[in-house]
Subunit: 317 residues, 2 copies
DNA sequence: TTCTTCCATAGACAAAAAGTATGGCGGCAT
DNA sequence: ATGCCGCCATACTTTTTGTCTATGGAAGAA
């Protein structure tokens, strides 16, 4: 099919497209004009359509030819780039990727990220730093982190972000809680019992958004307890201070359980974020991997049923 | 540099990586084993590092080799894909791209999109449909649109979206308005005069978001006038009904002017959206183009860098 | 040991890329 | 006009290189 198309051909047509005549392109490539003519012609024969229209003054590009030339430019750049990166990996010149993460993100996600990184950059290290989003953003800004995973939304214009996960937001309660008898929690029950929150100072924009969502369904909760990690939140739930909203895929304490909210489909969204000016060698591939994560995530929508998954993640290997 | 690396090499190393022995890979490729051995070796010499470690049982891949193999697989797929697309363009088999857009998006953006499409798919048509986001989303869902441009945030889980623009939100007023005498509008002045809004029914999530941002700075506006297009909004401003918030890059009536809000950096964000299941031939390239748009946008960001953090319209509601 | 299964090397051959020579065709200046 | 120049195509030769066959070595299995 297209097995006769080689990088050589791509290089040639890019040169021809730039030089606008085959003769001049041949000079630029240190090639005899008939050699180049033939290569271009062979390429066109293989494709099944002309890339260039020959005129007396030189060549003019055809519409599908334009697509091919654009592709060729990109493919050539990418080839040299990947090879340079692989050489750097071989020489052990890839600095550790410094990844920040909020303790509120799903640990599976962090694991997924690490696995993918190990696959893309074998034998290259990841340095993990936990922390609250405001602090992590600051570190991204000052360049002491290369990227971070944390809950959306994220304020600011200097960030490039890529959503990588979306999980239902569910109510976390004691297993013996009367609410746990039903498959779902009603809004009115939630309104009455919801008292435990993530510390607003830890991630103000996410807190505000949650408050907004609650107020839209007529709940103006009393924020009587706030915690800076999911573990602390669960401790408070266990200690009987009330119920809390958590990401469905948070690993939870064995004495606790979760229930969805009736008629509501709120979600906890996670993004991979890096600074506009960040330039870690691995970043381009990491970003593309984050896009894959988003795609695979949107493919399999989580079924809205609660499950207890007491998984403990080993943070540093 | 890497000019000796050809698609042939990529194909070979992918086969070797899959077969785990050079001998079996050679069979699969209908090639003699020494031929394949030599090609792999030549490739490795060119790269400067081994892709495979030879053992008696076959070959094992090296860390940088893994990167190269992963790249090779992708590059080979992409080559055939692009060629197939270009052939389709040549045969005139590309159906028109049905693009929806909200009248509230910046017209430059639509033009940019159309220009890019014309560049990527020369001689291929775009069918444009204006409308309100709820209606456009419905059409995306039923498959009568291939993609759409409209203001964020966007509700729902079935969408793939890509932010493509971010512009400051400014106050639109008559040129003779007393507020126009100052370079900026104070929040208290805004609170008093802001009465004209986009019709909430046109894009409820965006309206709610705006209301939330306003309430965060202590403004609970009276929505006395609503309009379904920027033109109608400007007509109301001109007719003296009050002031309105608009995208800074909206083309405005000659009798009107705009002013930023003091200490506030709200933005109007635009996204390119398509359905999870959409599969227009051009979509992959269009999506990549949308990513470019985002990058170029974040490159020339407005030079605002003071104490008040700009509020981002969240990526996903 | 002996057989098998890998991979590497060497030399012959064939395919294909690059080079040289030449011709046609249409502008352009004389 | 007419002759010159620039551009591309074709025909044929040379050089490069990809592929083949034959063969050897090394390590695990019988």
């Amino acid at each position: 099919m297209s097995d006769l198309v080689e990088f050589r051909h791509l290089k040639y047509i890019v040169a021809v497209a730039e030089a606008a005549t085959i003769t001049r392109a041949a000079e630029r490539l240190f090639l005899a004009q008939p050699s180049l003519s033939k290569q271009v012609k062979d390429f066109e024969d293989e494709l099944g359509f002309p890339i260039f229209i020959r005129t007396r003054q030189g060549v003019r590009i055809t519409p599908p030819g334009q697509m091919i030339v654009a592709y060729a430019q990109e493919a050539l750049l990418k080839r040299t780039k990947i090879i340079a990166m692989a050489r750097a990996v071989h020489r052990g010149e890839v600095p550790p990727f410094r990844l920040g993460f909020s303790s509120f993100i799903n640990p599976d996600l962090l694991q997924l990220f690490r696995d993918a990184y190990a696959r893309l950059f074998p034998d290259c290290l990841i340095h993990l730093s936990g922390g609250d989003p405001l602090h992590l953003l600051h570190r991204l800004e000052e360049g002491t982190l290369d990227g971070a995973l944390f809950p959306m939304p994220i304020d600011g214009q200097d960030w490039v972000m890529q959503q990588v996960a979306r999980d239902p937001l569910v109510v976390c309660m004691q297993k013996e809680d009367p609410l746990a008898r039903n498959a779902q929690v009603s809004l009115s029950d939630l309104a009455e019992r919801l008292t435990i929150f993530r510390d607003p100072a830890v991630h103000p924009s996410a807190h505000n958004r949650l408050m907004e969502m609650l107020s839209q369904v007529g709940i103006v909760p009393e924020v009587s307890c706030s915690a800076s990690t999911p573990v602390d939140i669960q401790w408070m739930v266990r200690a009987g201070y009330g119920v809390a909203l958590i990401d469905q895929r948070t690993p939870i304490d064995s004495a606790l359980t979760t229930r969805p909210i009736a008629g509501i489909h709120w979600t906890a969204d996670t993004a991979f974020v890096h600074h506009n000016d960040a330039d870690h060698l691995a970043l381009p591939l990491v970003i593309r991997f984050a896009q894959e994560m988003r795609k695979s995530m949107s493919g399999k929508k989580p079924p809205l049923k609660d499950q207890v998954r007491p998984v403990q993640l080993e943070l540093l290997a």
